[in-house]
């Protein structure tokens, strides 16, 4: 019995020699260290620690072409390489498990159903950067993930995969599970570090980048859960194997969270480059739109990524293809909505989120998201003014690129794209003081 009833494609992954993250997530015993070991677990950690230098580990991950799965898509091995080699300070690894971008629910599955994979990936990454105390920062609402990770950590210590003098090499590695307090901004790495230091979770100016001065002003690498859970597979099978998965520039597989108006929402692991249209309509994935209604739009990478209209969805789910379409892969959260959805209503939900989650440190984001919510709120309430669209455009362009962290951009990008792609509907809403389509989603 699983805690979350979420659908996965584990049975496909079990048969595939390419999919690897979801292979055992439908096995309830996978959370136990003995079962994880039987499935080949901790082999990569032993191999890295006893047979490879830290540089070799980082080089392998770099050559594999693994890119950050939290949203930014930055090359993971390259990031590890930014840690200064000669720094006398301790180095820290932090696993970012503050999953809170609307639409995203993939890291939670890994933590709840394959927690040792996360620990093993963290350990290998820690070794690659010379870290002896590593953290996982889990959002505070994920009580079950927290319990699972803590239980797995205790088992990993008892089985000799964490602790002192690991595998007889003299290498020590401690792990700390740290939990958050319900703040989306803490998924931004510098805000996460402030939060971990006991401060308010507000983002920091860069430079210095965390790899130079991060946690406690020491070199720190922050990586997403899914990114780290991928690392053991790369160490086991080699960079070449991983590089051949996915597309040339977007190597590997990725977990996509599919939500909204599809018949079969769930978390699915696919190779990068997988066709979005197939992902929404294929019976093995989304299985089409609820009530066989017409598709109106898709948010392909979480609430902060620009929209795609139905004519744009014949596209590969990878970093480059989505950029060509004017959107982003983001965290891989595909949110689908059908024809009976008012675009202004969608944007009101989104901007309310970003306004609420703005940490308030810098003016463009703090004030700008509030103004945008006010404008969109009045349009949705049927009280829009002529000129509101232009006003939104102006506020957006004064936020974009002018904030300390990416939250400002995240708030603005869906609005700008929604205005561009659905402008007539905004205008209709303002002119007629009502929605173009009757939006009412019954709970049944």
């Amino acid at each position: 019995m699983f805690y979350s009833p979420v659908i996965t494609n584990a049975s496909e992954a079990a048969k595939s020699d390419k999919l690897h993250l979801f292979r055992y997530v439908e096995d309830p015993d996978q959370v136990k260290v003995a079962t994880y070991e039987q499935h080949g677990g901790y082999k990569a950690w032993r191999k890295a620690l006893t047979g490879m230098s830290p540089e070799q580990v980082a080089e392998t991950v770099k050559n594999a072409g693994l890119r950050g799965r939290g949203g930014a898509g930055f090359p993971t091995g390259l990031k590890w390489g930014f840690v200064p080699k000669n720094s006398p300070k301790p180095r820290y690894l932090v696993c970012n498990a503050d999953e809170s971008e609307p639409g995203t629910c993939k890291d939670r599955v890994l933590m709840e159903r394959d927690p040792h994979a996360v620990i093993e990936g963290m350990a290998i990454a820690a070794y690659a950067i010379g870290c002896h105390v590593m953290f996982i920062y889990i959002r505070g609402e994920f009580n079950h993930s927290i319990d699972r990770m803590e239980a797995a950590m205790r088992e990993a210590y008892a089985a000799g995969h964490l602790g002192k003098n690991l595998y007889g090499t003299g290498y020590d590695l401690e792990m700390i599970v740290h939990t958050g307090g319900g703040a989306y901004i803490c998924g931004e790495e510098t805000a996460l570090l402030n939060s971990l230091e006991g401060e308010r979770g507000m983002s920091r100016m860069r430079p210095p980048f965390p790899a130079i001065e991060g946690l406690y002003a020491c070199p720190t690498i922050v990586n997403n859960v899914e990114t780290l859970a991928t690392v053991p597979h790369i160490i086991n099978h080699g960079a070449e194997w991983y590089r051949k998965l996915g597309t040339e520039k977007s190597a590997g597989t990725k977990i996509f969270s599919l939500s909204g108006h599809v018949k079969r929402p769930g978390n699915y692991e696919v190779e990068l480059g997988f066709n979005l249209k197939k992902f929404i309509y294929d019976p093995a994935f989304g299985n089409g739109i609820i009530g066989d209604k017409k598709l109106k739009g898709v948010i392909p990478g979480g609430a902060s990524t620009p929209f795609l209209t139905p004519d744009m969805i014949d596209v590969g789910l990878d970093y480059e293809s989505l950029t060509v379409k004017g959107s982003m892969l983001g965290s891989g959260a595909v949110i689908v909505f059908h024809e009976q959805t008012c675009i202004v209503w969608v944007l009101l939900k989104l901007i309310h989120f970003f306004h609420h989650e703005s940490c308030g440190k810098c003016t463009p984001c703090r004030e700008g998201t509030a103004w945008l919510e006010q404008i969109i709120h009045r349009i949705e309430a049927g009280e829009g003014h002529p000129g509101d669209i232009e006003a939104m455009d102006e506020v957006c362009s004064n936020i974009l690129g002018r904030t300390i962290c990416p939250l400002g951009d995240a708030a603005v990008m869906p609005i700008q794209s929604a205005i561009r792609l659905y402008r007539d509907e905004w205008q209709y809403h303002i002119d007629n003081h009502r929605c173009l389509v009757d939006t009412r989603f019954e709970f049944k």
Partner: protein, 158 residues
């Protein structure tokens, strides 16, 4: 004293793990919140004494985070996710349904002090929408029949 001996012990154990003392603040307020159900100045003062950090710094951190209510709530805090994926699956009508069932408005507590109803930002259950969190537990893929059963079970438990 508000905090129990068990909470104090947990706070001390947690604080001992961190390389720097201030990192113990968030775990300490989390432990206190789990025991009491909310946070306030008296609790900040007690934590301050246990981990030897000024009360103002405890309050500074605690007031940033929305997970911890700052005044008493009902025995069961119902948090409905109202963000986009859940809203597309009827989260707004789920809130109305709960308001009707509990005979309170969003933000209010029932007279018997059993339930408080609020709606919150994304809880990371987007593919099992609509959903709600009651105290520590997630309830996903909700239907009216499921909600009725959950509420009836909690009422019976008291």
């Amino acid at each position: 004293m508000i905090l129990t001996a068990e909470s104090i012990k947990q706070i001390k154990e947690s604080a001992a793990r961190y390389p720097h003392r201030k990192s113990a603040i968030l775990p300490a307020i989390t432990i206190a919140y789990r025991q009491v159900g909310h946070l306030n100045d008296d609790i900040y003062r007690e934590i301050s004494k246990i981990i030897n950090i000024p009360q103002s710094e405890i309050a500074e951190a605690a007031t940033f985070y929305t997970l911890f209510p700052k005044q008493p709530v009902g025995k069961y805090l119902i948090q409905v996710c109202h963000n986009i994926s859940c809203a597309l699956m009827g989260a707004d009508s789920l809130v109305e349904y709960l308001e009707h069932k509990l005979a309170i408005k969003k933000g209010e507590t029932t007279k018997d002090n059993l339930f408080t109803l609020i709606s919150v930002e994304c809880l990371g259950s987007c593919a099992t929408a609509p959903m709600m969190q009651i105290n520590q537990d997630f309830h996903e893929n909700l239907t009216p029949a499921k909600v009725d059963k959950i509420l009836a079970d909690l009422k019976a438990k008291g």
